[in-house]
Symmetry: C2
Subunit: 149 residues, 2 copies
DNA sequence: TCAGTAATCTGCAACTCGTGCAGACAAACA
DNA sequence: TGTTTGTCTGCACGAGTTGCAGATTACTGA
């Protein structure tokens, strides 16, 4: 994802207006590697700007996804997560607490694949499922805690 | 997934009862490679057994997943899909009509992965996104048709 | 075969996540 | 500063799924 300033320009270039709500969300996303949900962004945004609407968070995330500035990540069930990292990468998910982390995979284009006949397939999305050390070491694992953002 | 008869035994061995509803769903799933949703299974089941409840379909799918007899497939958004194929395999999804097909990938265990530190990771789930030939050739693509089941 | 027990089914309400809509509001521009 | 037009908020709604309660039915043991 580009910097808040660059995003401001990008929005304006599209005929979209710049608002304090959007600027705040740009800042909350920039450099954020926690794969936040709309809800968790809304909570953090509410701290700085009480009264901001969850609807606005969804709206702005959708805009950013449509512009290719962030990616929407699906890791199976649960709310959508947003990822400002648009590099070619994949994800690992802790199935206990829900934490998502970026993972870089090389050699994926050399996989031998059987069954893609008749499909115009683009790059694969790889999700590793497992358990993070915190949850593995904890006898009372935080079940789906708010690990994001 | 094992045969309906074997599943009957497996259910009984767990102290679960065998009901006509479950037997019907076992049959509908057996050898089914369409990755049906609960809703589509419900529709087909309703043909043979009018009055069967969608709730029962969900319940039975959850049981089968818990027993490891079928897998729940998440392909990003939309309803969950169920897959009686428990072989080590992956999926390709048509982003236009929603069709899901099984894909066999070899060499996935030789991927060079950076970022899994501190994770007890199990096998990766790989989802290829693309467009099937039907949708690619159709100028008026069937948008999210009922391709499953 | 029959009664008792415990699991199951059904229908409905409720819940989560996300979107559509309308009216108030505010950014951009002349 | 006024006008235009996009945006924000709040709310209702929709899809997908689950919780719950009461009626029903499968199993078990006599």
């Amino acid at each position: 994802m580009r910097s808040p300033d660059q995003l401001t320009d990008a929005f304006r270039a599209r005929g979209l207006k710049m608002t304090p709500q959007r600027q705040l969300l740009f800042r909350l996303l920039h450099g954020n590697d926690t794969h936040p949900t709309a809800e968790s962004l809304f909570e953090r945004a509410s701290h700085e700007m009480p009264g901001i609407s969850l609807r606005t968070v969804y709206q702005t995330m959708n805009d950013l996804v449509a512009m290719g500035e962030i990616e929407q990540v699906s890791v199976g069930g649960g709310p959508a997560r947003f990822d400002p990292n648009t590099d070619d990468h994949h994800h690992v998910v802790c199935d206990t607490c829900g934490t998502v982390r970026d993972v870089y995979v090389s050699g994926a284009d050399q996989l031998a694949i059987d069954g893609l006949d008749g499909f115009d397939a683009v790059a694969p999305a790889i999700v590793f499922h497992g358990e993070c050390t915190q949850c593995a070491s904890s006898s009372n694992p935080p079940h789906h805690s708010t690990k994001e953002n």
